[in-house]
Assembly symmetry: C2
Homo-oligomer: 215 residues x 2
Amino acid sequence: MAVTGRPRGFDTDQALDAAVDVFWRRGYDGASVSELTAAMGIKPPSLYATYGDKAQLFQAALRRYVERNMGYVTDALAQPTARGVAEAFLTGNALAVTMPGSPAGCLSVQAAVATEGSTQLALLTENRTRIQSLFADRFRRSVERGDLPADEDPDELAAFLITVTSGFAIRAADGAPREVLLAMARRAMVNFPGEHSALSPTDHRPTDPKEPTHA
Amino acid sequence: MAVTGRPRGFDTDQALDAAVDVFWRRGYDGASVSELTAAMGIKPPSLYATYGDKAQLFQAALRRYVERNMGYVTDALAQPTARGVAEAFLTGNALAVTMPGSPAGCLSVQAAVATEGSTQLALLTENRTRIQSLFADRFRRSVERGDLPADEDPDELAAFLITVTSGFAIRAADGAPREVLLAMARRAMVNFPGEHSALSPTDHRPTDPKEPTHA
DNA sequence: TGACTTATGTAGTGATCACTAAGAAAGTAG
DNA sequence: CTACTTTCTTAGTGATCACTACATAAGTCA
């Protein structure tokens, strides 16, 4: 890019990783520029010259976080059956929000809380909504292929998954251990339509075939 | 108590309600003292003389919030069956976090802004943990009475409920409508052990925000 | 070499943060 | 009335916020 001028004295990707970590632990408002620059190993002018401002740095950090820490979403969407999709998503999320060496919880949830009226809140809500629609589309295809019963609502199933994983993020930040979240992932899967896999240890109880409460 | 001196020029409970609203919408760190005093209709010295400091005001606001907006917890715990407890809790929470006239979501979740290492974060985590243990104890009694299968883990069931409602809070703050959360409450109940009740799926409880619900 | 370009460190900017000193205001008690 | 107590308003405190002006450092190119 710049063929001339003083070369940059730090690695932009490495610094962005440090910013991700700070935003992850502290949220958007909680992460001060001085804390960010300290973690990134640079001074404020370098931050602003490279990334724009705090909001743009956060957006870059969020993109990088999605790339590096939410790969389980793509993996889940690629599963062959709707149940497999849901199972992989819940399990992958439970693992991701309790990953040793990373802050507990999810950057997207941690940073969103308590910033009403902020542009960043809209960004994060949009991120969750986008992921939810990816799952809804995936489940719609499953209905078309007969992989899901026709009376199941793909949007409701997707909303259920996003809601459960949002709860995982909160509970992980509260300190819930990984095995507790995994147990809840299994429990949440009990009522998910489709063939139950042989791995589910909560299948010792007969599950009612159909949702009995519907208007 | 003060029989002498200049009388206080504002209503402390009314001002506290205004503080609850600000903390609910903005979180702990996001709520500035100037925004709080503006909403409460008082000046900073009155705030500090009456409530101590911002942290103590928040704690008082949290207590008041629990009293006035989490009565559904007490109501749920009083239900005769374990399933009824879970059903009332999920439904009550779904209604509470989407109450017209109140901020969407839950103060306890919204305020837990990623202030890692903050005393307020510990307070809120503790609040959730305490509620979870109330449900766990309730389910333990159900197991003893045969109301729940003996192979069900009361702690896991309680954790499941808290996780789902934590997700409700996030999704409500994202703008999820009430009926979507109620649908997910019904779905989450499908895998809850016990006899399925003839629950009417649309519980038309009045949406009066002034309902006094403390035990 | 010296002109040019870009990045860097120093040292701030005004705004806002939580919080408070000081004294006037408003009540009761004698 | 004067004393006393408490709350009020005014006007700040130092600290930190996101952000930047400015000069210098460090590279390329003639």
